[in-house]
Symmetry: C2
């Protein structure tokens, strides 16, 4: 790249798939990235930019000329074009749109007007729609003669003159039918459809549930405006799983491996700060028992064991609950059954570990009664951990807060506080400290 | 169901999609499930059984007659049939296979011979394959005249007389070509292909990367044996994300919402036991400083704060590392960059929280020096948390152990031990306790 050797670069990237080109871009130094794109010129497929991390894409686009971007966006499928336009600031976005032909501009503008993360943003606006009175033969001839068809499609749609969706015909169905048959006879008149304003997560769940590869996107009036494709759905499901995993681990869902140290430190700070606050509350609980601790230092040695067991049991229940809420497996119909199950599991594990850890503590400090106190505290904390682990996500979910983001600090503060309070409280009462 | 009123049951479930039927089965009492299937008889679509939890499916299949299962399996696509056969014990499996026509039996047996979680198990063995010298017209006529085609397909494959895969033609490509053109002229001679023995996760990553909807499955000799469909890939990706989320939260990846209390308690026990062991090690570290704790009870109050901050910071780094390893975003090429980034983030957050929490501790206990000790301990533990959070998953991964399953206990035991040791150790040295 430094040598601006376009010819050998071209030879190198000639057979690259867009996702391989994306990997190459990510592996390059920051200032080499726009350089490479400019050197490749019209040989650079802008679809590669949809395969890189958001931050990398924004950086690259900032460096490129608006004219280059407009030229690149023009050749893309509409869903890829929207992804790129989303990454531009408002001024550049307007400028790029201005440079596009009117038809494309209007279609892209309409997609961009739908709310973020909606089906309207993700849909492809290129689709094939025919009237119901056409025959199979007419349809096939139309497709043979039209040069500018979408790159891939799995079904053709049937619309009335006003553009309302009437039905859909799968390609294999079309191929297997005789030429004189009309589309109306062939079409599925209840095609899979989604509203353009629907959230992409809901759409993805629907694809998953009914094993779809594409679905019509309609506007409020039932007019066909685009098509959702399964490859975008695969990305949505991955993004969502990614976000859940990160959020449960206390990491912001936008964090990417390509982020800088400062960005990462800032995005990790809030969770650690929240944890510090709950830890201080828990420390206050311990502080209230300082006299007991002075009299019996064994309590200080054992109390983190109780808190840590509670924290882990709470995390187990919370993980199951948060994931089941995300995949819609947990809802009103089975919430009470799951609450009962978790409470019983917590109680049962509480009893088991009360015996094991109570025995260990009793033997360790040569004090049978300390073992009993330990056991009682463990039963209490594991029961509360189970209840906190399920009620916190359920409550947050009902309040409209994403349980994956905020359940963690609540659950661990409950288990810490209950753990220290139960263990030190029972010990103080039992030994009369 | 209790009234065995088949007629109204039939009316009720008539329009059900297989996944809705699956939901209905899961919502029913255990003994009503096989009852419903028997009542519906040949109107029950066995595909619904692929939509329920594994444990529910096994339970139902145990209750059903082998003849009923054989009849049901016969009507299924091969990938669904394999899912059901997998859930039977060896004896029943052999019996069901015996009742199937020879061609289906051989195909299913071959799928079942591939290792669990391989492409061979998930593939559909129904596909359309034509010789390269056929024309578009011949191919379309063949499809029109053959009644027993796969339910859905997105491409047709091209093979030589020995069954070796030569190429593939997408349906839209076929539709848009004139009848006299030969398949050979049309086909993509480097079609997307996977080995039947390849792990389904690898196949799913490939679909995701190259936005595929189907891919040919070939055996060792390059002969076409089946086709992987994107709807199965969507399920694989979801299962995998599910497993990662659960394992990071300390829950066995096989745990399902429909499990009983005892099954759940048993599957949660090992993780809690592992945590108990590491907590005991950490307690021993505290025990080594009992004298210091007796002299200065403030240390007992503050030490859980240090450990908890370390645990959370370690979990953050670990979550990012485990997920990046699963999605193949983290590999040898960028490991050192990520390690350096995490170490710097840990150090930076350590400095920030040293100032914040050090001040709080100093003011709280009216002891400036205690604040300094707190700060030094936090810097140490957050740095070690970052290093543990990245090195533990990387090491486990290199050893061939799934980092999602086992990183947690390692990382938290490192942060607990380092946390208690650093805080109590620095305090003991500083104050000469």
């Amino acid at each position: 790249i430094d040598a601006s050797d376009t010819a050998s670069l071209l030879r190198l990237v000639e057979d690259f798939h867009e996702s391989e080109m994306g990997d190459l871009l990510e592996a390059l130094d920051t200032d080499h990235r726009p350089r490479l794109i400019e050197l490749l010129g019209s040989n650079f497929d802008f679809a590669a930019l949809t395969e890189v991390d958001d931050s990398v894409r924004e950086e690259i686009l900032e460096e490129l000329e608006t004219a280059t971007v407009a030229e690149g966006v023009r050749d893309l499928e509409s869903d890829d074009a929207v992804t790129i336009l989303e990454s531009l600031d408002d001024e550049d976005k307007a400028e790029v749109l201005d440079r596009l032909p009117a038809i494309e501009r209007v279609a892209l503008q309409r997609s961009l007007d739908y709310p973020e993360d909606s089906a309207g943003r993700r849909m492809q606006t290129e689709f094939i729609a025919v009237p119901p009175f056409w025959t199979v033969g007419q349809t096939i001839d139309f497709m043979r003669e039209t040069p500018d068809l979408p790159e891939t499609f799995y079904e053709i749609f049937v619309i009335d003159p006003a553009g309302h969706l009437l039905g859909a015909v799968a390609l294999d169905r079309l191929l297997r039918s005789k030429r004189p048959i009309t589309i109306e006879q062939l079409m599925d008149d209840e095609p899979d459809r989604v509203e353009a304003t629907e959230n992409q997560e809901e759409v993805a769940r629907m694809f998953e549930r009914y094993n779809l590869v594409s679905a019509a996107v309609v506007d409020d009036a039932g007019r066909l405006v685009g098509v959702m494709m399964v490859d975008d759905i695969v990305d949505v499901l991955e993004e969502e799983a990614d976000a859940d995993i990160k959020q449960l681990g206390g990491v912001h869902s936008d964090e990417e491996l390509s982020d800088t140290v400062i960005t990462t430190q800032r995005s990790r700070f809030p969770w650690l700060f929240a944890n510090m606050c709950t830890a201080i509350i828990a420390a206050n609980v311990i502080g209230a028992f300082s006299e007991s601790l002075e009299h019996m230092v064994a309590l200080a040695v054992l109390m983190p064991v109780v808190a840590s067991m509670g924290g882990n049991a709470g995390t187990q229940t919370m993980t199951v609950a948060v994931r089941a809420l995300a995949t819609r497996e947990l809802g009103r119909s089975n919430a009470w059954r799951i609450i009962r199950r978790e409470a019983l599991v917590g109680l049962l594990n509480g009893l088991v570990f009360a015996v094991i850890m109570g025995t260990i503590a009793g033997v360790w400090f040569q004090a049978f009664e300390l073992g009993v106190v330990m056991g009682l505290a463990l039963i209490t904390v594991l029961l509360f951990a189970a209840l906190g682990g399920i009620f916190v996500p359920l409550t947050l979910n009902r309040l409209g807060v994403d349980p994956a983001v905020s359940s963690g600090p609540f659950v661990t503060s409950i288990t810490d506080i209950v753990g220290f309070f139960a263990f030190l409280g029972i010990a103080t009462a039992w030994f009369g400290l």
